[in-house]
Symmetry: D2
Subunit: 268 residues, 4 copies
C-alpha cells in the first residue's frame, strides 16, 4: 500500500474519515483535515449495509470515485466496506483496503470472495463474536488465498447502556499474543459518544494495537449516520497530538494541512 | 406451499430434519421418519456457511436435488438455507421456504435478493440481535417485495454455559404481540444438547409459537454437524406425541410411517 | 408448611402478592384475591433492599405482622425476603419461607445464617449467575444445615431491551435434570411488563417447574414498586384459570373468594 | 491515610498483594516486594466470601493482624474485604480501606454499615452491574455518612471466554466524566490470566484511572486462590517500571526493597 506497513511494529497507523461518503465537499475537506493531522488511511462508506430501503444507501460507485479522488489529492490510502461478493471487484478497483463490517464477519461467501481480491482485508469483529470466531473468519480469508488480514476490535454487545458497545481492550492483548496478524481498534463504534473516543484510542495505543479506525466528520451534527460518535476536525487533531506521546504516528502532511485550513477558512 | 399455512392460528407446523444433507440414504430415512411422526416440512442444509475451507461444505446443488426427491416421496415441504444472493435462484428452484441463517440476519444484500424470490423466507434471529433488529431485517425483505416472512427465535448468546444458547421464550410472546408475522422456535440450537429439546419445544408450543424447526438425525453420534443436539427418530416421535397435548399437529402420514419403519428394518 | 409440599411432583404451587407490603388494606385485599384464585403462598416484601436511603425502605417488622395477619385470614403460607443475617431470626418468626433475593445470591454470610433458621429457603438466581453458581449457593445453605432450598429462575441480564430480563426457560429444564431441588419461576421480574407474564407462566408450567412467584397488586398503577410488571386481580384469576389446563393447581378458597369480591365491591 | 491521597490527580496509587492472606511468611514477603516496587497499599483477603463451607474460608482476625503487622513493617496502607455488617467494626480496626467485593455491591445492609466506619471504602463493580447501579451503591454509602468511596472497575461478565471477564475500559472514562470519585482498575480479575495483566494495567493508567488493585503472590502456582491471575514479584516489578512511563508512581521503599531481596535470598 504505497509503502504503508500496518502491524510491522513501526508506525501506529490511523485510519480516519466519515462513516458515510456524503458529498465531494464533505469527503475532501475531511481527507485534507485527517491527512494534515497525521492519518495515513481515509475511511468512508460508499455502500451502507445497515440501511433499510427507506434510508440512505450510500453513494455506491460514485462514492468510490470520490474516495479515489481524495487519495490522489492527499496521498492517503483508502479503506472502505464491501458488503457482498458481487461488489468485491468494483470495490477492489478503487480501495486499498477492503473492509468487512461487523455484520459480515460470518458472511462466508463474502470472505471467500475476498481471498482473491489482491487487497488487504480489514476484518471487524462481529457484535458478539468470540475471539476464536474472529480468528476463524480470518483463516477463511487466508485459506481462500489472502493472508493479509487486519483484525479490528470495535466493541462488543453487553448489558451496559452508558456506551454503545463495550470496548474489549483485553481482546487486543490476547490477539497480539495468539496471532501474528495486525490488530487495530475502532474506538468510535465502541464508545458511541465522541467524548470518550480519545481515551479509548489511548488505551488502544498502549496495549499494543497497530492502529485505529476513527470516525471524523466536518460537522457531526449534520452527519447522515453516526454523528454522535464522530470527532470534529479539532478533536481529531487534539487526539492525534495526544497519541504521539505514546506511539509513533506520522507527522501529517503540511501542504494538506495548509489546504485544509484554507478550505475551512473559505467555508466560514 | 401446497396448502400449508404457517401462522394462521390453526396447525402447529413442525419442520424437522438433519442439520446437513449428508447422503441420499440419510436424508430419505429422516424424511420418512419425520413425515410419519407428523412433521410438515423437511429441513436440511445443502450449503453450510459455518464451515471453513477445510471442513464439510455441504453437498450444494446435489443436496438440493435430494431434498426435492424427499419432498416427492413424502409430501413434505422443504426448507433450506441460502447463504448468498448468487444462490437465491437455484435454491428457490428446489426449496419451498428459503432459510436465512443466524449469521446472515443482517446480510442486507441477501435480504434484498430474497425480496424477489417468490418463496416464503424463514428468518433466524442473529446471535445477539435485539427484537427490533430482527423485525428490521424482516422489513427489509418485505420492502424488497416479499411480505411472507417467518421469524425464528433460536436462542441468544449469553454468559450461561450449561446450554449452547439461551432460548428467549419471552421473545416469542413479544413478537406475537407487536408483529403479525408467524413465529417459530428452533429448540435444537437454543439447547445445544438433545435432552432438553423436548422441554423447549413444549414451552414454544404454549406461548403461541406457530411451529418448530428441529434437528433430527438417524444416527446423531455420526452426524457431520450438530449431532449432540439432534434428536433420534424415537425421540422425535415421542416429542411429537407429547406436543399434541398442547397444540394441533398433523397426524403424520401412515404410508410414510410404514415405509419408514420398513426402511429402518431393512437397515438393521 | 401446613401440608404444602413444593416440588413433590403433585401440585403446581403459585406464590403471589405485591412486590412490597404497603398497607394493611393493600395486603389483605391482595391476599384474599390470590387465595380465592388458587395461590397457596402469599409473597410480599417487608424489607426492600434495592432502596436508597431516599426511597421506600419497606415496612419492616410492621410488614411482617401484616403478612402473618393475612396468613391467619386466608390460610396462605407466607414468603418474604430477608436481606441480612441480623434479620434472619425476626423474619423466621413470621415467614413460612425465607426468600433470598437476586442481589443476595452470593451473600455468603446470609446463606450461612439461613442454614439454621428452620424454614425452607427460596433462593433466587443472581442477575447473571451461571446455573453452577446458583447450585453452589444452594449447597452453601444445605451445608449450613438446611437442605430445604427452592431454586428460582427469574430472568437473566442480557443485551435485549424489549423485556426487563430474559427468562432462561432452558435453565428450568437443566435444573430439573441435574438437581433434585424444587424449581420455581418468577415471570414478573423476567418480563418486566405484565402483558407477557401469563405466557411466561405457561412456559414455566409445561417445562417442569414446580411453581411460580408472581407479582399481583390491587392497583398496579399506584404500586410503590414494580407496578408495570404486576398483574391486576382479574389478570391473575385469568392466568390461574389458564394454567389449570397444564398443571394441577389448587382450586382456591371459596370463602376467601367471596370475601375478596365483597371487599372489592366495598372498595368501589 | 497517612498522607496517601487517591484520586487527587497526583500519584497513581497501586494496591497489590495476594488474593488471600495465607500465612505470615507469604504475606510479609509479598508486602516487602510490592512496597519495594512502589505499591502504596497492601491488599489481601482475610475473609473469603466465595468459599463454600468445604473450602478455605480465610484466616479471619488472624489475617487482619498479619495485615497490620505488614503495614508496620513496610509503611503500606492496608485494604481488605469486609463481607457482612457484623464484621465492619473489626475490619475497620485493622484496615485503612474497606473493600466491598463484586458479589456485595448490592448488599445494602453492608453498604449502610460502612457509612459509619470512618474508613474510605473501595467499592467493586458487580459482575454485571451497569455504571448507574455502581454509582447508586456509592450514593448509598455516602448517604449513610461516608463520602470517601473509591470505585473499582474489575471486568464484567460477557460471552467471551478467552478472558475471565471483559475489562470495561470505557467505564473508567465514563466514570471520570460523570463522577468526582476516584476510580481504580483491577486488571487481575478482568484478565483471569497473568500474561495480559500488565497490558490492562497500562490501559487503565492512560485512560485516567487513579490507581490499580493487583494480585501478586510469591508463588502463584501454589496460591490457595486466583493463582493463575497473580503476578510473580518479578512480573510486578517489571509492570511497575513500565507504568512509570505513563503515570507518576511512588519510587518504592529502598529499605523494604533490600529487606525483600534479603528475604527472598534467605528463602532459597
Amino acid at each position: 500500500m504505497g509503502g504503508l506497513a500496518i502491524g510491522s511494529g513501526g508506525e501506529f497507523v490511523v485510519m480516519a474519515g466519515p462513516c458515510a461518503v456524503e458529498s465531494e465537499r464533505q469527503l475532501l475537506r475531511t481527507a485534507d483535515a485527517v491527512a494534515a493531522a497525521g492519518a495515513r488511511v481515509l475511511r468512508g462508506g460508499a455502500y451502507k449495509g445497515r440501511s433499510s430501503p427507506y434510508s440512505f444507501q450510500g453513494l455506491g460507485v460514485e462514492g468510490l470515485k470520490l474516495l479515489a479522488k481524495a487519495r490522489e489529492r492527499t496521498g492517503l490510502a483508502v479503506v472502505t466496506e464491501v458488503l457482498c461478493p458481487e461488489d468485491v471487484s468494483v470495490v477492489a478497483e478503487y480501495a486499498d483496503i477492503m473492509q468487512v463490517g461487523t455484520r459480515s464477519m460470518e458472511n462466508y461467501s463474502l470472505l471467500a470472495a475476498l481471498g482473491e481480491c489482491g487487497r488487504p482485508v480489514l476484518l471487524k469483529r462481529g457484535m458478539t463474536a468470540r475471539l476464536e470466531e474472529l480468528l476463524h473468519s480470518a483463516q477463511v480469508i487466508a485459506a481462500s488465498g489472502n493472508p493479509n488480514v487486519i483484525l479490528c476490535e470495535r466493541g462488543i454487545r453487553t448489558f451496559e447502556t452508558a456506551t454503545r458497545n463495550t470496548l474489549d481492550i483485553g481482546a487486543v492483548a490476547v490477539l497480539k499474543t495468539v496471532s501474528h496478524l495486525p490488530v487495530i481498534v475502532d474506538p468510535s463504534h465502541a464508545a458511541g459518544v465522541r467524548s470518550i473516543v480519545p481515551m479509548l484510542a489511548r488505551a488502544a495505543a498502549v496495549v499494543g494495537a497497530d492502529g485505529l479506525l476513527v470516525e471524523v466528520h466536518p460537522d457531526p451534527e449534520e452527519a447522515m449516520s453516526d454523528g454522535e460518535q464522530s470527532l470534529t476536525f479539532d478533536q481529531f487533531r487534539e487526539m492525534m497530538r495526544d497519541l504521539r506521546r505514546y506511539v509513533p504516528i506520522s507527522r501529517g502532511c503540511e501542504d494538506a494541512c495548509l489546504r485544509a485550513f484554507a478550505a475551512e477558512g473559505a467555508a466560514k
